[in-house]
Symmetry: C2
DNA sequence: CCAATAACAAACCAACTGGTCTGTCTGTGG
DNA sequence: CCACAGACAGACCAGTTGGTTTGTTATTGG
């Protein structure tokens, strides 16, 4: 039975994480200042260095517990809900446009930002980010593979390559949106992503066997 | 008649620019240390602050005189050499794979890196980078438009949107290549880019009027 | 109820960082 | 040939930064 104004270690830790995320999203990991994170939370150095051994460890925690978690929830896990992976990818892309605020688009994808900044100079970040992108790619690839076995996706395409391109296109679109400073840029990418996805679809005419669900 | 070991202001300035670019490419602008740039060149503080009023001004100079210049030479200017813009975009993508070294791929696109890092926190960078990406997009868009008038590109597509997607896909592919740490990733994106580009091509069957060059 | 420990606060510090200031040398126009 | 400005060197500095140390308070197991 903890009182809200009194000590609550888990909540304190999470508050630090959120503040650190906000700072990293804006200034990058190197640009993030520990003092700034603290002033956001009202806490002091003692609190931060009690929960995290170093700034680097704090960065890793933000990456794994906030950034990767959110992307998994938004891009990876929901893929399994769709029978048609091509529709699934498109709908997820569309959904992000509704969920994210304009300010969030202006700051861009935090994972990509961290990747661009830290991959070349910190092995810990590089490994974690690389591992996660491989996971993401594999999830898309698996969905496409399943789409092939269901007679939705062309059998001659390479799911791995297509998944790579899809993830690249998503990150690229988010990047362009951030750079050009207009959420409409993201929306305009939607149609082109659809065009690419439809080019992966097995058209009815070229089908020899009959196998589809309802749609 | 300057001796190579003696004073040569233009050369000195360029040496600083190149060193600063290398540092920025690896550590980012904020991560770049003035002292490190200097030790790369063998020069001292006096030299740098004689040629550049501040670290920020040095960053702007690197962006405009090295980064944007190179991208213009590699991605924008050569577009005009192709009668078929779809082939042109593809060939340029292909050409980069041959020109850039593995180490350069590992460091990724310096413009995107700078954009991700500095856009949210520095108006000077934001404006310059935004302006340049608009230039790039417009160049691709113009090429596609010309392709339409030549009966190569489907008349119903929006050149602006497609150009946006092309640039996004290129940057995305470079980003994925950097993150996954394998130049092969870039090569594997080639085929998917081609698939997208071909989806923009006006197929012969659907043509009503006869208008093509040689090919 | 009482140590023992977890959860913080507050002051402090050494290293670093961009930038300045003064001085020196080199090339050059008159 | 010589004054003068451009091109740099080298020492110096104030502010910042991540991290530490010590002290204080709340929480909890026995």
């Amino acid at each position: 039975m903890q009182m809200s104004t009194e000590r609550n270690p888990e909540n304190t830790r999470f508050k630090i994480l959120k503040a650190a995320f906000a700072e990293m999203h804006q200034h990058g990991f190197q640009g993030m200042r520990v003092d700034q994170v603290l002033s956001r939370t009202g806490l002091k150095k003692g609190a931060l260095y009690h929960h995290f051994p170093s700034k680097q460890a704090l960065g890793y925690a933000v990456l794994e517990e906030l950034i990767e978690k959110r992307i998994r929830e938004l891009w990876i896990d929901p893929l399994a809900d769709f029978d048609d992976p091509l529709e699934g990818i498109y709908v997820l892309y569309e959904r992000i446009g509704d969920v994210w605020s304009d300010e969030f688009f202006a700051l861009g994808c935090p994972l990509n930002k961290l990747a661009q900044e830290m991959s070349p100079i910190d092995g810990g970040f590089r490994e974690r980010i690389g591992r996660f992108f491989r996971l993401w790619q594999k999830a898309v690839s698996q969905a496409l593979l399943q789409g092939q076995s269901r007679g939705i996706v062309k059998p001659e395409i390479q799911p791995d390559d297509c998944a790579l391109f899809v993830v690249a296109a998503i990150e690229g679109a988010l990047g362009m949106t951030k750079i050009l400073g207009d959420k409409a840029v993201y929306e305009r990418g939607k149609g082109e992503l659809k065009r690419y996805l439809e080019s992966l679809r097995l058209d009815i005419e070229s089908m020899t066997n009959d196998s589809w669900e309802e749609e």
